[in-house]
Amino acid sequence: MNIIVCVKQVPDTEEIKIDPGSHSLIREGIPNILNPYDGYALEAAAEIKDKNPGTKIIVVSMGPSHAEAVLRECLSIAADGAYLVTDKAFAGSDTYATSYVLSQAIKYIQKIEDITFHAIFCGKQAIDGDTAQVGPELAEHMGYSLATCCLEAEEKEKELIVLQETEACRKLIGVAYPCVITFTKPDHDPRFPTFKRKIEARKAVIPHISAKDIEGIDLSCTGIKGSPTKVKRIFVQTGRKEGVILEEENIEEITRKLYSIIALIGEEEKTG
């Protein structure tokens, strides 16, 4: 089975700080990491390969040249090959444009690798934007079936069996090939890179794919120009007003106060 995993390099949002004075994002020194959900997608692919060693796992990322770092990380964990899709014409893409470029790049990779992918694995969402849209839109551009928010996948002859998480339950579903599956955090931790793979990954040549490589790509659908949505304004939420701090020594007093606050909510419920 052939799987392509879409991975994105993202700023570690845990490290992001807001400058309290200017209310702007402090970007300096924020490490870039592999989007954690894409790590889960790679892990799911690696588990399929554990059972079926004939499985081929390719990773692809669209982004600037330093995104090579996350591709190397994937190579050191489980991937057999990696491609970086990079071009000024792709910069500033929203999810619609990103998924279009990725769909074109994936078709191109199929051609040069001379294989077809049974499945495209994505993270459920990228932690910088949290849109969770690129996977489903990619499915649409490719005309593939789709399942989102999955934890595990198992290869069967005609379909992929996946464990999907919804608000209310978990479902075991069969998704016909070719398909796009997006992954969320499984119940176990993903594997780590091995030392041997790490050394190989460091030396690996990562081909770059640019707009001119992809025959027939419609550049009016890429980059800022090809993005239907525009960011009009960015602001720091100062929204919530600072609340009241209760610091009394007396537990009885604090809980009584809390009780009266909570009881008010209950009252509203009845009248509202």
């Binding site: 700023p11 949002t13 845990e14 992001i16 807001i18 994002l25 959900y37 929203d94 999810t95 619609y96 932690i127 910088d128 934007g129 949290d130 849109t131 969770a132 849209q133 489903p136 839109e137 499915a139 649409e140 551009h141 079936s145 789709l146 989102t148 998480e165 608000e167 209310a168 339950c169 479902k171 075991l172 069969g174 398909c179 969320t184 955090k185 239907p228 949505t229 525009k230 009009k232 304004r233 960015i234 602001f235 720091v236 939420q237 919530r240 609340g243 009241v244 701090i245 209760l246 610091e247 537990i251 009885e252 604090i254 809980t255 809390l258 009780y259 606050i261 909570i262 909510i265 419920e269």
Partner: protein
């Protein structure tokens, strides 16, 4: 694209398998109405399902001028393939200016497919939607960069303008219109378009918790100290008629399953009351709960960031305060019952 835009605003109403409406859709009717007025168009509710008569009557009570129903066996259970195909067909046919959908798992799965099919933009998981006077577009507001920033997004020159909105942000508000048009649409889809088979549905008790629609959440973090500590939170939640949630810190310690995790990589909630117990208030946690109506935080550390967004902050030990609070609520309840009996 050939899209003769009308001024109508659509709201997509999800139904459950038994044909009942999901309240996350009804919540969008009120903001939808305000936008429809600005657009000088009608407010149209769209629903899919099987045996949805009751649902149609219910939706009619929330200010719809028109209700479009795609009804039939094939719509009983949600399927990304079928729902996305039918929705894009209807959007093409009626060409509304925009559509609001709830940011449920299903909503977030089918909306990008429909948007992509119509070659239009989509703004996901918004915490607000309004009308931008300057451009005449819908103005979508959503958190980004893990909740560190808010972005206002518009979709100009592409239609329909689409977005999903986090459940619980708006409150349902009944409003009857004099006349509601009901249109039944037999959307004919290609055969065998559903490429998904459901083999097994597992309603494990631990996952059936519906945090998104809960009105009261008692959430615990590392400060709760143990799985036993969560039992204490469970007791408080039960007393209040709420459910338990957790921070990643608690989940990573194995005290509670990931299904309960609130935050960027967990669930997005906005209950009437969120009680954060022993949670420091990391940005990723706050991304999932800062739109709660009221936040009460209990933490030993006066400097904990959670106090910055809490309406009421209690500096103290959860091990002491939580049981005391449960007790007082139970006592008061009992008192009330006694009074009533007399």
């Amino acid at each position: 694209m050939d899209y003769k835009k009308s001024n109508d605003l659509w709201v997509f109403i999800e139904t459950k398998e038994n044909g009942a409406v999901n309240s996350s859709g009804l919540e969008l009717m009120n903001p939808g109405l305000k936008i429809a007025e600005k657009l000088k168009g009608r407010l149209v509710a769209v629903l899919f399902g099987d045996a949805v008569e009751k649902a149609v009557r219910e939706v009619a009570e929330y200010g719809a001028d028109q209700i479009i129903v795609a009804e039939g066996e094939q719509y009983r259970e949600y399927s990304a393939d079928i729902y996305a195909a039918a929705l894009s067909c209807l959007l093409k046919k009626y060409a509304p200016a925009g559509i609001l959908m709830a940011a449920t798992n299903n909503g977030r799965e089918m909306s990008p497919r429909a948007a992509c099919r119509l070659k239009t933009g989509l703004t996901a998981d918004c915490t607000d939607v309004g009308f931008d006077e300057e451009t005449g577009c819908l103005l979508w507001t959503r958190p980004t960069f893990g909740g560190n920033l808010m972005a206002c997004i518009i979709c100009q020159n592409h239609w329909p303008q689409m977005g999903t909105i986090r459940p619980g942000i708006y409150k349902k508000e009944k409003m009857n219109k004099e006349h509601v048009d009901v249109i039944r649409e037999a959307v004919v889809l290609e055969e065998n378009i559903d490429r998904i088979k459901v083999y097994e549905t597992m309603y494990e008790e631990k996952i059936t918790v519906d945090l998104e629609n809960a009105e009261i959440i008692v959430a615990g973090g590392k400060g709760v100290g143990s799985a036993k500590g969560f039992q204490m939170l469970e007791d408080l939640a039960k007393t209040l008629g709420g459910v338990v949630g957790a921070s990643r810190g608690a989940v990573e310690n194995g005290w509670i399953s990931h299904a309960y995790q609130v935050g960027q990589t967990g669930r997005m909630v906005s209950p009437k009351l969120y009680i954060a117990c022993g949670i420091s208030g990391a940005i990723q946690h706050m991304a999932g709960m800062s739109s709660s109506d009221m936040i009460i935080a209990i933490n030993q550390d006066r400097e904990a960031p959670i106090f910055k967004i809490a309406d009421y902050g209690i500096v103290g030990d959860v091990q002491v305060i939580v049981p005391a609070l449960t007790k007082i609520i139970l006592d008061e309840k009992r008192k009330k019952l006694c009074k009533r009996d007399k």
